[in-house]
């Protein structure tokens, strides 16, 4: 993955300046040691806490582990079943992809728009920022399930508003054609995190660049296109990648709003919700592990693709 381009010239230059007599080891240390020193906490955590469980779950994906009895090796049976005989796998993957495609662009566009509005030094900035972040404070609280019913059930607020225009809406949250949209709205409603990240990104753009552009007579629109957007691309890239990964893995929204069922008619059966049902509801942890690794593969391919294309549009200052 060409994530981090080799451009740390400075550290390497220091190494060259030293006399060769200090030996190869010292040279290797100077060249690579600092990096590993800084990486040490992460490496320890990775090897001690993350790798073991990950390898274990990969192994379990080739077994019939049922949570209680010892796991028995079943070869690729779980993967074969996923590929050939599991309609719920296809259904849940479809729901998830629809969710990713709908929620991520809307959420990011909304977050970016609000961040730009809020970055203009208007009065009450702190107030608005706090208000807009409030929904995100609720996270996946149980209260959300009830709140969302109040909004999107047949007699909820949304339909009361629509009634003003003579439209009689269905019970959005419990209709198989629309329920996924209520989850998309929930995701967009909680746009606080990408908004804050965008704001932080905007803050990092040096104001003197705008001043110079203003002096050159560039319009605000032009300034936005020529300065703000390019300098913001690393942050946009980050938000897009991370939000997509999170959306693929989304669990809590569907879990609390559908009461863990993924209904009606599997219309909100997110991939990880199905995985959870298999693991803890139907005692098929082995099968669920196989599902999980298929998801890792899908997300991994998507992320690799994002990084490959990023070199064409993401502008790094280094």
């Amino acid at each position: 993955m060409a994530a981090v381009q080799d451009s740390a010239v400075a550290v390497g230059a220091g190494a060259k300046a030293r006399p060769a007599a200090q030996g190869r080891l010292a040279a290797i240390w100077t060249k690579h040691g600092a990096g590993y020193m800084f990486l040490l906490p992460w490496l320890v955590g990775f090897f001690a806490l993350t790798l073991g469980p990950a390898v274990a779950s990969f192994y379990l994906s080739f077994t019939n582990f049922d949570l209680i009895r010892s796991a028995e090796w079943v070869g690729t049976a779980n993967y074969v079943r996923i590929a050939t005989a599991d309609p719920k796998f296809a259904a849940s993957l479809k729901v998830t992809i629809v969710y990713v495609v709908l929620s991520v662009p809307f959420k990011l566009a909304f977050a970016l728009l609000v961040a730009i509005l809020l970055n203009r030094g208007i009065k009450g900035l702190t107030f608005y920022r706090a208000i807009f972040y409030l929904p995100s404070l609720l996270g996946g609280s149980v209260a959300i399930a009830v709140l969302w019913r109040q909004l999107f059930a047949g007699d909820g607020l949304v339909n009361s508003l629509l009634a003003q225009f003579g439209i009689e809406g269905p019970s959005w949250i419990s209709h198989p054609d629309y329920s996924i949209w209520t989850l998309v709205v929930l995701s967009v409603w909680q746009f606080g995190s990408p908004m804050i990240i965008f704001l932080a990104g905007l803050r990092q753009i040096p104001t003197d660049m705008y001043e110079a552009a203003s002096l050159d007579g560039a319009s605000k629109f032009r300034q936005f296109y020529k300065i703000t957007l390019p300098l913001l691309t690393p942050v946009i890239f980050f938000n897009a990648v991370v939000q997509t990964i999170e959306a693929f893995k989304a669990f809590t929204p569907a879990f609390i709003i559908s009461g863990g069922t993924g209904g009606p008619i599997n219309s909100t059966l997110f991939y990880t919700l199905y995985l959870y049902q298999e693991a803890f509801g139907n005692f098929r942890m082995g099968y669920a592990s196989a599902l999980a690794w298929i998801l890792v593969l899908i997300i991994g391919l998507f992320t690799a693709f994002s990084f490959l294309t990023s070199r064409y549009w993401v502008h790094y200052d280094d």
Partner: protein, 295 residues
Amino acid sequence: MTDATISTVTAPPPATISGRSPLSSTLIHAALIAASIAMLYPLLWMVSASVRPEDEIFSSTSLWPSSVDFASYVRGWFGLDVSFGRFTWNSLVIAVLTVIGNVIACSLAAYAFARLRFAGRNFWFAIMLGTMMIPYHVTLIPQYVLFLDLGWVNTILPLVVPKFLASDAFFIFLMVQFFRGIPRELDEAAMMDGCGAWRIYWKIMLPLSLPVLATAAIFSFIWTWDDFFGPLIYLNDMNTYTIQLGLRTFVDSSSTSDWGGLFAMSTLSLVPVFFFFLFFQRLLIEGIATTGMKR
């Protein structure tokens, strides 16, 4: 340029774009206020549900309760075996430790990925991103067994120690993206002055990254505050429960639930996070001071 000049650069005013007409300003405010109301309505409903009679919560969609009664707050706070003050304290301890752990450990790793050259850097970076992709439900049981063998179950260690080992790849990736936005000439200048990697990290990277560090602190705090699955699995004794576990104890879908208590305590539980947010978002603004410097 040396460290000293960096830290004493004075702040220009926020990125105000001058000469905006009053009309467009009014329009922006109107749009923002309309958006605020849409944002707030569900929360207002929650507050209203916390003071209304229990048998009205599910059958009424009106924002105004037929009568106002704060009994839910008293019942919610004292109604469980352990008071909500205890849960709040537990949540605070975990959240604050998480903030510290994430900010320190993730910024170290992020600095390595963003600035240092070492063999296998791209490999480790890809692995690090990979750890974000595994659904936690399938690593849960192996991890539980691991922590059980360590004797950490029923303590906050499984929730806190991983943070000091940069287990949250999200924050590493976030910081990498921001560190790479810091002009490299600064490092190079410092290098000329004989600064090592550690000093560059400490004297240049961190001070110049206040916005992203504040962001990481805010998210760490809030996400820890809202997390329930980790505490659900690792904290068994009610005295060690966090707020979210406490909240869920109000609800048993198979028998009686205390919905008034749930909404009252949900409302209260927003207060500490909200103040934490208000406090740390000031750092976001102060961040301008350092990033608005001459290049």
